[in-house]
Each structure stands twice: as structure tokens, then as C-alpha cells.
């Protein structure tokens, strides 16, 4: 199989990025709960401990605040740590090192220190895991000056964005979605970066822009297929990075289509979708032929029971229904 067509799952694309970056740069270390256990991190970390040893692959006690702060301190000393939170809900214990310390450090030191750290948080939606095991908290982090927030929707981007995050000299919150782990596509074997702040047009269209991020990209693509049957030609944008946000691609798509739905796996109020909507309302208002709509989670904690989960999570059907209201 040639390297052009080699297919890799999303989780193994992450694994390959980790292997390649750790081999390339001895300063890269991986810290976090369960990095030697498939139970926590799927197969994203397989083979790392054997290859790079316990000095660079550090499984930790359940101490999110100290362990995350430790990654920040190691970055200040010149390492390039990745700290993983196998359920990003637990990152809330680490808000001080992420928000108060890492995000502010460079600014409050007048540029005299940089913090090249990756905060890797995994979203675990579904499976009746309920309110404290299912949250998508990207909007919290995107709100903070000094943090970049990336959310790959595809295996190729998972590898390229993780490499870009590791190479970046700023703190980057890398958020993946466990429901995407088995998705496969062609992933280049070489080391490559997906630049932050550059959206991808996943499907061209003329009538409606579906701007999505993370797991909502595949929902949007499927919604576009359904809409095509009804004669609605939707363009699907994968925003890829919540911050920096690719305003240019977003605005030029809306200029072309005149309609916008933002699909996001986070909550509605003050959510990531709200920021995307605001940018278009401020800078693309005159291009709009219809009100902008959001397809995002209701302002409600994640439930357990399957019937409530079905009512809670947004899917292609919600996007299709919302789209039809715009014509």
C-alpha cells in the first residue's frame, strides 16, 4: 500500500503523531492519568512507554491540578510537555494552571517566557455517561486570551493538528472526541502540520453554509447529503480550530451562500457557536438572506438515560430540519 493511500484511524493518527514527535524531539514528554492504560486513552498511546520509557511517558496519580501545573512548569524549563485528561470534565480541577498560569504567563512576563504545553482533553459523549463524564468544554478555553483551542474532526487533522500543537510555542488545548476514534481515512505517514486558524471546505455548496467543528463536521456532511435530495446545495466548513478562528473562510462562504447554520457539540448559551454567529453578524450582516441559526446542545447537563440522550445530542436530522426552515 502506498503512503498516499494508507488509511489510519483517528486514534492511531494521534498515536502516530505522538510517536513521531517524541522521536524527533527529546524535549517532548507525555504526562497524564492512564497514559499506559488503553482503558483511559484507547490506543492513542500504544507503544509509547516501551519505546520512550517511563521518564518521558509519565502515568500519574489522580491529581489534575498538580499534574497540569507540572506540565506548565516543565514547559517553562524548556520541555514540550503534553498533558492528557482522558475525560476533559476532570480538567476543571486544573483550571488554575491552564487559565491563571499558562494562558497568562507569557503576557504577564512581558514576553520573557513562553509556555509550549499541550493540554489534551478528550470528550466522551454518549454511552449514558451523564453529566460529569460527557462534557464538551471547548468554549470555556476559547474564551481565555493566551490559549489556542483545536478540535480535529478527521484522522488526518488529528495527526496534523496535534503536531502543530506540540510545535507551537504557546499553550494549546487539543480536544478530541472519543466517538471519532474509529473513523478511518488516508493519513500521510510523514510528519506534517495542519495550520491553526485555517478552516477546511469539506464540501462546496451554493445555498447554505454549514459551519461545524469536531464531531459535528461529519453530522453536517451527512445533513448536506440529505439536503441535496431536496435541492439544497449546502457548503460544509470544518472550522478545525475554535481559536484562532478562520474568519476569512467563514465570511467568504457566507458571502456566497447568504445563509449560515453553526453546528457545535457544546452548549448554546455563550458557546462556541455564539462566537461564530457574532463574527458573521458583525462583519457579514449584509450578505445574509436569512437569520443565522445554531444547532448546539440545549442548556442542560448531559443526561444518562438513552431516551434523554437522544433528545439531548444534536445530529444530522437537527441540522436538516433547521436548514429547511431557512428556505
Amino acid at each position: 500500500m502506498s503512503s498516499r493511500t494508507r488509511k489510519l484511524s483517528y486514534s492511531l493518527a494521534i498515536n502516530e503523531a505522538l510517536h513521531q514527535m517524541m522521536a524527533e524531539d527529546p524535549d517532548v514528554i507525555l504526562i497524564g492519568q492512564g497514559v499506559k492504560s488503553p482503558w483511559y486513552v484507547g490506543n492513542t498511546c500504544q507503544g509509547l512507554l516501551d519505546r520512550f520509557g517511563a521518564r518521558r511517558i509519565i502515568d500519574t496519580p489522580v491529581s489534575e491540578n498538580a499534574v497540569t501545573g507540572l506540565a506548565v512548569g516543565a514547559a517553562l524549563a524548556g520541555l514540550r510537555p503534553i498533558v492528557v485528561h482522558p475525560r476533559m470534565d476532570f480538567m476543571l480541577y486544573a483550571m488554575d494552571p491552564i487559565v491563571n498560569q499558562a494562558a497568562n504567563w507569557r503576557y504577564m512576563c512581558g514576553g520573557k517566557a513562553s509556555v509550549p504545553v499541550v493540554f489534551w482533553g478528550i470528550i466522551n459523549r454518549g454511552g449514558e455517561q451523564a453529566a460529569q463524564h460527557s462534557q464538551a468544554l471547548h468554549a470555556l478555553f476559547a474564551h481565555i486570551p493566551g490559549l489556542k483551542v483545536v478540535m480535529p474532526a478527521t484522522a488526518r487533522d488529528a495527526k496534523g493538528l496535534l503536531i502543530a500543537a506540540i510545535k507551537d510555542n504557546n499553550p494549546v488545548v487539543f480536544i478530541d472526541d472519543r466517538s471519532l476514534y474509529s473513523q478511518k481515512e488516508a493519513v500521510p505517514e510523514r510528519v506534517y502540520e495542519v495550520p491553526m486558524g485555517k478552516a477546511a471546505v469539506r464540501k462546496k455548496g451554493a445555498d447554505l453554509t454549514l459551519a461545524a467543528i469536531s464531531n459535528m463536521v461529519s453530522e453536517s456532511l451527512r445533513a448536506a447529503e440529505t439536503l441535496a435530495i431536496d435541492g439544497i446545495d449546502a457548503e460544509v466548513l470544518d472550522l478545525r480550530t475554535a481559536k484562532p478562528l478562520d474568519e476569512k473562510t467563514l465570511l467568504s462562504s457566507v458571502r456566497k451562500t447568504g445563509r449560515l447554520i453553526v453546528a457545535d457539540g457544546g452548549w448554546t448559551t455563550c458557546g462556541f457557536a455564539a462566537e461564530v454567529v457574532a463574527r458573521v453578524a458583525e462583519k457579514g450582516f449584509t450578505d445574509l438572506k436569512a437569520p443565522i441559526r445554531r444547532v448546539a446542545l440545549p442548556d442542560c447537563p448531559a443526561p444518562a438515560s438513552r431516551t434523554l440522550e437522544e433528545a439531548y445530542y444534536r445530529t444530522r436530522e437537527d441540522i436538516v430540519r433547521t436548514a429547511k426552515e431557512l428556505f
Binding site: I58, S63, P81, G110
Partner: protein, 326 residues
């Protein structure tokens, strides 16, 4: 333990520089020329001086909200400190940090920050980096007694001991957590025992006696360099100024809640005066030598103020510089 004259004078110089620099800020604070919150270190100098004297310039230090002393003792530039406190572009953080955010990467003062206990895990990470690189460098995490109320300290102690990291946890116990006396916020007055359940060697010492601090610190640093860290140290001390600002002065009225007699008792234990008495009474060092060191420090402080006053304020147009590295 006997010490060379040179070493004793370097401790004295270190403390005097801190004190004169701190006291020089009182008037500018009262005149509102200095506006950022300043938590003055006066009275606690023996700790920064004694601990930092045990370090090389390759070792690391992290500080707190009250870190002018840590910064100076580790070798940070005094003029840049004063300029930072004045909010000037010439400051060590280019006026973006103020008194509570000091950094001097060139001498491995890696930073101070006012979130109580917030820098403890950062110091832990720097110690991890030293341990991974096997470079033999030691990290000092300074924190106050108030920080022992924060859970992250205990997470850090466990991890440091688990990984045998070269880190000194240095608690400066000045008996008050802002306005709260220790007895009102801790079930027991036993901070030095905090490290023990984690298997960490722990010491308590007189933080107003620079030689005691220095001796304990040298022992602790030696252990860390041998791979027998971490070490926990509690030094008892007292701030001679307010929690923030020259005194705890709210709308012009003196509101220091500490008993006047207690303050007076600690004034008699002023670490600089005590050390002067020791030097002139028990060594061959004379008063003239000490007076010369004081004069030199006064000149240095005056020059630092000169630099700070002539340094420009940051430009408004530069507001968003330094958020990200390009």
C-alpha cells in the same frame, strides 16, 4: 558551622538590599506613584537570603505575591524590579506584570504569581524537567502559610516524593494568611509536619535567623542534588509591613489587626538587626564595613528609582503584544 567573612557579608548585603529597596517603595505607594498592589517583604529577608545563598545560578526559583525579596536574592536586576513596580516599559515584565509578577529568566527566577499555591505545581514541573535531564539543578518553591490551605500543595508533595524530585518546598510562615491569624485557619500549628506523611524530610527553623535558614537550606540542597529530595522547610517569620502596602491602611486609618505588642515583639527580632549584632559581636567584621554595605545599597536603590522614573510607560498601542508568541 563556621562561615567565611565573604559569605557572611554576602548574606548581609543580600538582606540589606532587599530591605532598603522595599522601604524605598513606601513613599511612592503612599503618593500613589506606585499603584499596583505591593506585598512588601520587610522582615522576612533572612529566608530569601539564606535559601538563595545555597543555590547556584543554574538552580530555579518560583515565588509568590510577596516576591520582591526572592527576585533580588536570586539575582534579579533591581532597577528592572523598581521599574516594574512603577508600571514602566523598562520593568522586568515590561510593565505587564507589576509587583506580583516578577521574572528574571537569565538568573532562573522563573516567576512569581499571586494565586495562592499557584506556582507550587509549576516548580514541581521544573523539578521534573531537571530530573528528566539529570542536570543536577534544584528548584525552590516559595509559598506562605496561607498556601497550606490549598489542596494542590498536597498533590505536589505526593508527586514530588513519588518521583524523588529535586525540589525544596519552602514555607514562609509569617503567622497570617492575609488578615487571618494562623490559629483561626489551621487546626494545628504544624506546617513543618506537612511533608512527613509523604515521606519527605521536613524541617522547621527560625526564619529571622539567616544563618539557621542558610544551614538548613544547604543541607536540603545537598540532599536534592544527591537524588534524596524533595525537602520541606518551614521558616517562622513575621512581616513588618501590611499584608499589602506599607500597612493595612484602609481609607487612612490604621487597620493592622495584629496586636501592637506582637508587632513590637517581632521588631526586636528584626533579622537584619539580629545579624548585625552577631557580625559585630561574634566575628571580626566591624560596623564600618556594614555601614559601607548599607551605603552601597542605598546608592543602588537610588539609581534603580532613577531608572524607573525615566523609563517610559508602555505604549497604549502595544496593549496586545505578548499574548502569543508568533
Amino acid at each position: 558551622m563556621t562561615h567565611s567573612k565573604k559569605f557572611l557579608l554576602s548574606l548581609y548585603r543580600s538582606m540589606v538590599r532587599m530591605r532598603i529597596c522595599e522601604e524605598s517603595l513606601v513613599e511612592p505607594i503612599q503618593k500613589k506613584e506606585v499603584r499596583c498592589p505591593c506585598h512588601l517583604y520587610s522582615g522576612e529577608e533572612a529566608i530569601a537570603a539564606g535559601v538563595c545563598a545555597a543555590l547556584t545560578d543554574k538552580d530555579y526559583v518560583f515565588g509568590t505575591h510577596r516576591s520582591h525579596g526572592h527576585y533580588l536574592a536570586k539575582g534579579g536586576d533591581m532597577a528592572e524590579l523598581v521599574a516594574e513596580v512603577f508600571g514602566k516599559e523598562g520593568g522586568c515584565c515590561r510593565g505587564r506584570g507589576g509587583s506580583m509578577h516578577l521574572i528574571a529568566p537569565e538568573c532562573r527566577m522563573l516567576g512569581s504569581a499571586p494565586i495562592v499555591a499557584g506556582t507550587i505545581p509549576l516548580a514541581l514541573g521544573t523539578a521534573l524537567a531537571s530530573s528528566i535531564r539529570k542536570d543536577g539543578h534544584v528548584v525552590v518553591s516559595f509559598f506562605g502559610d496561607g498556601a497550606t490551605g490549598e489542596g494542590v500543595l498536597y498533590e505536589a508533595l505526593n508527586f514530588a516524593s513519588l518521583m524523588k524530585l529535586p525540589i525544596l518546598f519552602v514555607c514562609e510562615n509569617n503567622l497570617y494568611s492575609t488578615h487571618m491569624p494562623l490559629r483561626e485557619c489551621r487546626a494545628k500549628n504544624n506546617i513543618f509536619e506537612t511533608g512527613k506523611p509523604f515521606g519527605i524530610r521536613s524541617y522547621r527553623g527560625d526564619g529571622n535567623d539567616v544563618l539557621t535558614v542558610s544551614e538548613i537550606s544547604q543541607k536540603a540542597v545537598a540532599l536534592c542534588r544527591k537524588g534524596e529530595g524533595p525537602v520541606f522547610m518551614e521558616f517562622m517569620t513575621y512581616r513588618l509591613r501590611g499584608h499589602v502596602g506599607p500597612d493595612d491602611n484602609i481609607q487612612g486609618s490604621y487597620t493592622d489587626i495584629r496586636p501592637k505588642q506582637e508587632i513590637e515583639r517581632w521588631r526586636r527580632k528584626d533579622p537584619i538587626k539580629r545579624f548585625e549584632r552577631f557580625l559585630t559581636g561574634s566575628t571580626s567584621i566591624d560596623r564600618k564595613t556594614l555601614a559601607r554595605i548599607v551605603r552601597q545599597a542605598e546608592e543602588e536603590v537610588a539609581a534603580a528609582h532613577g531608572f524607573a522614573r525615566t523609563s517610559p510607560f508602555p505604549k497604549k498601542g502595544d496593549l496586545t503584544h505578548y499574548v502569543f508568541e508568533d
